[in-house]
């Protein structure tokens, strides 16, 4: 019977119902769009924030005292350890593999260069290498300095990782010091060996890297006699801001707490997962960058929540306006059903069924519109598609019904107060 009443009541009150449904659609579409974006934001903004650079540094575990000046490890008082190049792919196989936005291995040492035999740091690295990742749907990933330091620019050209030619990119300061330019050949001397490298580019980083010479990782490995070895990996990971829980001592966590910590993309849990796959490694978060990224994400999420709240409030107000008019027009009808014996709960049930119907219709249409809106936001802001999480649909429907319910609270309260004696008398 409710179905008949509601269908017919909707038919004759098309205008009011359409207004209420439109109000719900507006709220629901914004909510589903923002929820869709919200659930993608860590990845999307994480990618944007990768321009901040690496936020995890992986080095070999070493019990000795390290001597490091200007980013170059001069060794320790004990035997120098190295990481293995053939294990690098495993970084893209950890639990939070999709949060690894880029990584760059390096091996560096101090060499003599140029006609005056000046001491200078030579860094062997990957620039933008296509790395195969076995047993993963994405099959390959790009790794190298360009994936972690996207703001670096080169006058000339980048070195191609696959060519393995004897080429070098000079930091701007190093080029000035050695008086070299693109096209020159520079002689590098190390431990009695020497190699000639052709300068293909001048590097601008705004940092200490401008004092170094960069070349293919394999060239430095050959020069140092350390085939397949690396001394450092810089990792750029999309992370979630560290909260009080993240800062707890993991050795004192229960199994459930540890699982929760491990399965949250905190920088510390990602660092641990890297240590687990790279033999003999010590992965340390760069706290300054990590916390800047975390805070930025926190602020964006807060802003999105505030926008969502405003959308919910505006939508509920729209529903309230439409439903107040509708209930005013239905005073006599409500008086009749009360006069023929409808109890408060039955009158309420009638309205609740109506509200749910408006909420579901508005929610479903709003969800569809919201997904479209999310894609527009994705393309305009992040230049990529938003992957819609399945949770967004039920969430939108529940919130849409909630919006309708909030919007209908006052009109329903007024409806339940209607005195049949007064309305049936025509007052």
């Amino acid at each position: 019977m409710y179905r008949r009443i509601i269908l017919k009541s909707f038919k004759i009150r098309r205008k009011q119902i359409a207004l209420a449904v439109i109000a719900v659609i507006m709220g629901a579409s914004l909510i589903s769009a923002l929820a869709g974006v919200y659930l993608n934001i860590e990845e999307k903004v994480g990618k944007e924030l990768s321009s901040y650079g690496a936020n995890i540094i992986v080095k070999p575990k070493d019990d000795g005292i390290q001597l490091e000046i200007g980013g170059v490890n001069y060794g320790s008082n004990k035997q120098q350890n190295y990481l293995r190049e053939d294990e690098l792919y495993k970084i893209k196989k950890i639990f939070w593999k999709y949060n690894i936005l880029g990584f760059s291995p390096s091996l560096n040492t101090v060499v003599k260069a140029g006609p005056k035999n000046e001491s200078i740091v030579l860094t062997g690295t990957w620039f933008e290498k296509e790395l195969e990742i076995p047993d993963e749907t994405f099959k390959t990933t790009k790794a190298g300095v360009k994936t972690v330091s996207s703001w670096w620019t080169v006058d000339g050209k980048w070195i191609n990782d696959e060519d393995n030619k004897p080429e070098a990119i000079l930091g701007a300061a190093a080029a000035k010091q050695l008086k070299n330019k693109v096209g020159d050949v520079i002689r590098i001397r190390y431990n009695g060996k020497s190699i000639d490298l052709k300068v293909v580019g001048i590097l601008h980083t705004g940092g200490e890297e401008e004092n170094q010479i960069f070349t293919n990782l394999s060239i430095v490995q050959d020069l140092m006699g350390l085939k397949g070895k690396i001394s450092e990996i810089k990792v750029s990971a999309a992370i979630t801001p560290e909260d009080e829980f993240a800062k707890r001592d993991i050795t004192k966590m229960t199994k459930e707490e540890y699982d929760r910590w491990y399965c949250t993309p905190y920088i510390s849990s990602i660092a641990l997962q890297i240590e687990e796959v790279i033999t003999g490694s010590d992965a340390q978060p760069i706290e300054q960058i990590a916390s800047a990224q975390g805070n930025f994400l926190k602020k964006i999420k807060l802003m999105m929540m505030l926008i969502t709240l405003v959308a919910v409030a505006a939508s509920a107000l729209g529903v309230m306006t439409a439903m107040t008019t509708s209930i005013l027009e239905r005073r006599k009808e409500i008086g009749i059903i009360k006069a023929i014996g409808a109890q408060t709960s039955q009158t309420l049930a009638l309205f609740m069924t109506e509200i749910s119907a408006i909420g579901i219709i508005g929610g479903v249409i709003g969800y569809g519109a919201g997904i479209g809106l999310a894609q527009l936001i994705g393309n305009a802001v992040f230049n990529s598609r938003i992957v819609v999480n399945v949770i967004v649909f039920p969430l939108t429907i529940i919130i849409a019904i909630g919006i309708t319910l909030i919007g209908c609270l006052i009109p329903i309260r007024n409806a339940l107060k209607i005195d049949p004696v007064i309305v049936l008398r025509g007052e």
Partner: protein, 224 residues
Amino acid sequence: MDKNDMIVTTNLSKSYDDKTHVLKDLNIVIRKGEWVNIMGPSGSGKTTLLNILSCLDRPTNGSIIINGTEVTKLSQNEMAKFRRENIGLVFQQYHLIPYLTALENVMLAQHFHSMVDEEEAKKALELVGLGHRLEHIPAHLSGGEQQRVSIARALINQPSLILADEPTGNLDRTNGKIILDLFKKLHKNGHTIVIVTHDPEIGMMGDRLIKLMDGRTVDERESA
């Protein structure tokens, strides 16, 4: 109170703002199966009395026992439940839901009472001679037909008491006669009927006529 009494009011009063006294110490007894008409000029309190007897309104003072239940002690929800189980209401303005068909208007009363039985609702409309107008909405029915739908709705839950407020007030003579014939049939079948009316012709019908003036009973006699 006698077990044959359907309605007993004792010192029933209704006033608004302590100034306007609409009903003043009314003591009325209506027996089961009786047809009682209530007449009086406008403002005499007859509609207020009918609203109180319908459990739509509450008296300021006094008591009303309907079918053995002291209704003034019931909560709002209990009054609604009592009304749908014991009382059938017929209004001058018919008060049908405009977008529901004749059949659905009758089924609506079933819905709030217990459960919908379409066949029963059809029978009730056939009983009032509207078996051929089941799917018509009120706007497509004449005034007399709408009132007959209203009577079918009042009867569908088999109430022991039927209360009618000017049931023929908006009808022409022919349709008015059809409605009154229906009431006669209901009376014959043992229903207790109370009709508030201005029409002296209706006043002559039934078992008894109560005349109200300024909220008091001024005359009470057996109908002719």
